[in-house]
């Protein structure tokens, strides 16, 4: 079960927003809204493709200017739970520009960073506000979730190769 409370493997953040729940839901699911806030400061989100179905893909491109020039990062994932407007769960992995999953260490991330992480968003309307609980957790290496994920990408990699001349 991924619901363990190993704090070293997850981060939980609670926030309240001065907006109706439907709008906060759109912040996460409508690419135009998502692009407006998702980039960490100094980053832009030129690409956000969401297939809003369970099992549907997500693909996000991030661009930031660093002292070493323009840096691009790509993230891919899968929607696991879509219960509008209360609950959204998706996985996320670093990828290349074609959506092939990359290992975090090959991208310069410190060791211990899980290849696939899971983002859970829970929303609740309270009067004019919306309370949001975000949980971002690592999927332990070798868990069924990760295996399924890797298999899916192996298939994708094979497919991409077969499409090239």
């Amino acid at each position: 079960m991924t619901d363990d409370t190993d704090s070293s493997n997850s981060v939980v953040i609670e926030r309240s927003f001065d907006a109706p729940i439907g709008l906060i839901w759109k912040m996460w699911t409508d690419p135009e809204h998502f692009k407006a806030w998702y980039g960490p400061e100094g980053a832009a989100i030129p690409v956000a493709d969401f297939d809003m179905r369970v099992g549907g893909r997500r693909f996000v491109g991030m661009e930031m200017t660093t002292p070493n020039g323009l840096m691009r990062m790509w993230f891919t994932g899968e929607h696991l739970v879509i219960t509008e407007p209360e609950r959204l769960v998706y996985t996320e992995s670093l990828s290349d520009e074609n959506g092939n999953v990359q290992s975090p260490s090959s991208m310069g991330m410190p060791e211990g960073h899980p290849t696939t992480t899971e983002v859970r968003v829970a929303l609740e309307q309270t009067n004019a506000h919306t309370r949001m609980v975000l949980r971002h957790a690592g999927i332990p290496a070798g868990s069924p979730g990760e295996m399924g994920w890797n298999m899916a990408f192996d298939k994708l990699a094979t497919y991409v190769k077969s499409q090239q001349p």
């Binding site: 704090s7 070293s8 493997n9 997850s10 981060v11 953040i13 926030r15 927003f17 001065d18 907006a19 709008l23 912040m27 809204h33 407006a36 806030w37 998702y38 980039g39 960490p40 400061e41 660093t66 975090p104 310069g108 991330m109 410190p110 060791e111 211990g112 960073h113 899980p114 949001m132 975000l134 971002h136 957790a137 690592g138």
Partner: protein, 119 residues
């Protein structure tokens, strides 16, 4: 804003950690302080090359160096390393900063439209 400063510091720390040589140096220092010569021993590298790595770690606040002029032993800076010790904590400041941006974006799009007609 403090979140932005933290992000910058995290970036410097990540850049410093993105080298297997520097991570190996940190691993060695986790066992105790050491001089540059001692740190250089296991590596097939020149002293200046090792010194360069040490400077990067020092600038990122991951290690500190003693003031004894000749040896200047290096020691690990535990507090800095703890901040980035888990990937999850690394993400906390990123998410907080994103949600600050969501907040201001929400304020912007929910503001009453049409400011041109001042009352």
């Amino acid at each position: 804003m403090t979140v932005a400063i933290d992000d910058e510091r995290l970036s410097a720390t990540f850049a410093a950690l993105a080298s297997s040589t520097r991570r190996a140096i940190l691993a060695r220092l986790a066992e105790g302080a050491a001089t540059v010569n001692e740190l250089a021993e296991p590596f097939d590298m020149t002293l200046p090359a090792i010194s360069k790595h040490i400077k990067v770690l020092e600038r990122a606040g991951l290690i500190r160096r003693g003031h004894r002029a000749q040896f200047r032993p290096c020691a690990i800076e535990a507090s800095r390393l703890r901040e980035v010790s888990t990937w999850a904590e690394q993400y906390r400041s990123i998410w907080e900063s994103r949600f600050d941006q969501m907040d201001s974006y929400l304020a912007q799009i929910q503001a009453p439209a049409g400011r041109e007609g001042k009352p």
